[in-house]
């Protein structure tokens, strides 16, 4: 395969895309969709902030791969009428050139969505998007000192003077601010007496100081106070005698530097782009040997498989695990279960946890880049197979 010819074809495809009538409006739509929808649909500050996180997440998680599938299904037309003009080049070069141009377009789309999300973040008070969960552990202090439950939730019972200790480590900045989501369990002994059933104390070495609390919503409080420096921890103490308070490290958010918004957006954009490239390449490979409609359907099936099956599988697995625990019976290898196990074993198109972190207002973990690279490499690795199939295909019409 000649690189010069492949690049010439890719460059030409990009010029064609750039000059197509729908390109400029499409680019504006991608950039402005998040801020516009956020302003149109958001009714309160919380809603606006949620939309500022949710819209780009859905755009990168679902819309971009979907667009990649549809685009790939119609990008190359293995017809003589379209292909004759590149006859001096090998058909494989035509295929790879088109795929590279499509990849560049997908990257630009991801950047535009991320840029729109950045604009939305500015409009929606970006500090709320720059939170990080940084609690490293949680433990129960008090008479019984029970370990957290398997799901990570730890409970503190006021009747036993228990409290929860969340380790934060060292924090930069002058202030410690953030939110804590909690659950309550009522002992039914009498009616609850307090609106906020807990007190949050900041511990720094031997010193301790209660933090100011503001109720944000049911089960969520905002805390703020000065940062004394050093290793920090939060003690959550239930103060209503009839309400047990429970939480887990994932429900603690501490605001960190604003730059993390940009970093998170870039991470998400890269991850979404990589997933879109994977869908794009897979659809192109099918397109190399079939009609556009078949290619689009196959791509959609792939998308559904990689996004839905792993999401569905844990429910089935939970049932199996419970039965195993209660009855001591090993699951039978029936076909459905085997298929479900196979489905749950498939790698997800996008690691859900990354987007969950973003949606929860926390910094996207840096593993997103590694995950993205794997998917991007997989997508690009599919191209030679597609090029080979496209080369061998007969073009009768």
């Amino acid at each position: 395969m000649n690189i010069g010819r492949t690049v010439a074809l890719a460059r030409t495809m990009l010029v064609e895309t750039q000059r197509a009538p729908g390109t400029l409006p499409g680019a504006f739509a991608l950039f402005l969709a998040t801020p516009l929808l956020m302003l149109l649909l958001g009714t309160d500050a919380g809603g606006i902030q949620w939309l500022a996180r949710d819209l780009p997440a859905e755009g990168l998680r679902l819309m971009l791969p979907l667009g990649a599938i549809v685009g790939a299904a119609f990008l190359i037309r293995p017809a003589m009428a379209r292909g004759w003009s590149v006859l001096p080049a090998r058909r494989a070069e035509w295929f790879v050139g088109s795929a590279l141009a499509g990849t560049v377009v997908l990257a630009l789309c991801a950047v535009l969505i991320a840029a729109g999300a950045g604009l939305a973040a500015i409009l929606a008070d970006s500090t709320s998007l720059g939170r990080a969960r940084i609690a490293t552990s949680i433990e129960t202090e008090g008479v019984r000192e029970r370990p957290p439950l398997p799901d990570g939730t730890a409970w503190a019972d006021p009747r036993y003077d228990e409290s929860l200790l969340l380790s934060l480590g060292a924090l930069e900045g002058d202030r410690v601010e953030g939110t804590l989501e909690y659950s309550v369990a009522w002992t039914r002994e009498r009616a609850p007496a307090r609106d906020v059933p807990l007190r949050i104390t900041l511990l720094a070495g031997d010193a301790s100081r209660d933090l100011n609390l503001t109720v944000e919503s049911r089960g969520r409080v905002r805390f703020a106070g000065a940062n004394p420096g050093g290793e920090l921890a939060l003690r959550v103490t239930p103060i209503d005698p009839v309400l047990l308070v429970g939480t887990k490290p994932a429900h603690l958010r501490v605001e960190v530097a604003r730059e993390s918004v940009l970093w998170s957006l870039l991470s998400l954009a890269f991850l979404g782009f990589a997933a879109a490239v994977l869908c794009f390449s897979a659809t192109l490979c099918v397109r190399a040997l079939s009609t556009s409609a078949t290619a689009a359907l196959t791509g959609l099936l792939l998308l559904a498989t990689l996004t839905m099956l792993p999401g569905l599988a844990p429910a089935g697995r939970m049932v199996q695990d419970r039965r195993q625990a209660v009855e001591g019976v090993k699951s039978e290898g029936v076909l459905f279960q085997s298929l479900e196990a196979l489905g749950s074993g498939l790698p997800e198109l996008l690691p859900t946890v990354t987007f969950d972190e973003w949606l929860a207002g926390r910094v996207v973990p840096s593993t997103a880049w590694g995950d993205g690279l794997i998917r991007l490499a997989l997508g690009l690795a599919l191209l030679p197979a597609g090029a080979l199939v496209f080369r061998l295909r007969q073009i009768a019409k």
Partner: protein, 282 residues
Amino acid sequence: MPAVEITGLGKTFRDFFGRRRVRALDGLSLSLDKGQVFGLLGPNGSGKSTTFKIAVGLIRPDEGSVSILGHRPGTMNARKALGFLPEDSTLLPFLNARETLRLHGALAGLTRADSTRKADELLERVGLKDAATRRVKGFSKGMQRRLGVACVLIGDPEVFILDEPTSGLDPLGAVQMKELIAELRGRGKAILISSHLLGELENVCDRVAFLNHGKLLAQGTLEELLRETETHELRVKAHTAEGVAALEALAREKGMEIARSGPPLRSLESLYLKMLGDGKQP
């Protein structure tokens, strides 16, 4: 070595289940040398386009073989040796004429400077110099056809396959195309051509072949195929009424039957060219 050699070519198109749908080619054999123009004639569905598609490597034959200057169709050497102008030339719509030619130059292995120079030369050659920076999307069918021809020429291939080359061209364009074909023949290029307009083929082809239902009915030089043994034509250039009358009388006296006598009819094409000149604006 022949420029194009087709031997026992057979192709059957089948449906999804592998059932035989149509026998497009059945044992076609023909040969084309350098400096020759070969015309393929036949009705729709006779196998002309299938032959071309096999020759350019778009489809594979079931039987037989095709050789382009000794190379198998679809290989890089065969591609370099071949210039193909299909009947429906779909060009990239948002490139302009010069960019289109430069792309083809790059695909043909020319340097950027060479492809730019050759693009400008060819645009002038096919009458599109004034439209060099216009996007192809706005071109008429005839202009697209001219640009398609320029695309074929930019790589300077040795073998040309032209499917309905004058389709969509005005009479002047058709004449220029025929002149171009004649010039290419003069430069030793081999040209395989198909057209529904038989008069065009008659003017430019050295050899023709007739195809029907994928089978070769006849092939040969134009003179071999067109010679009529039952009639005889005598053309007199400087004539007088008495002389013509004397010739007719002599012919009758010798027992010959005169089918037609009178001034010859010129072709519509020559009348068009005489009336509209070279098509340039005054």
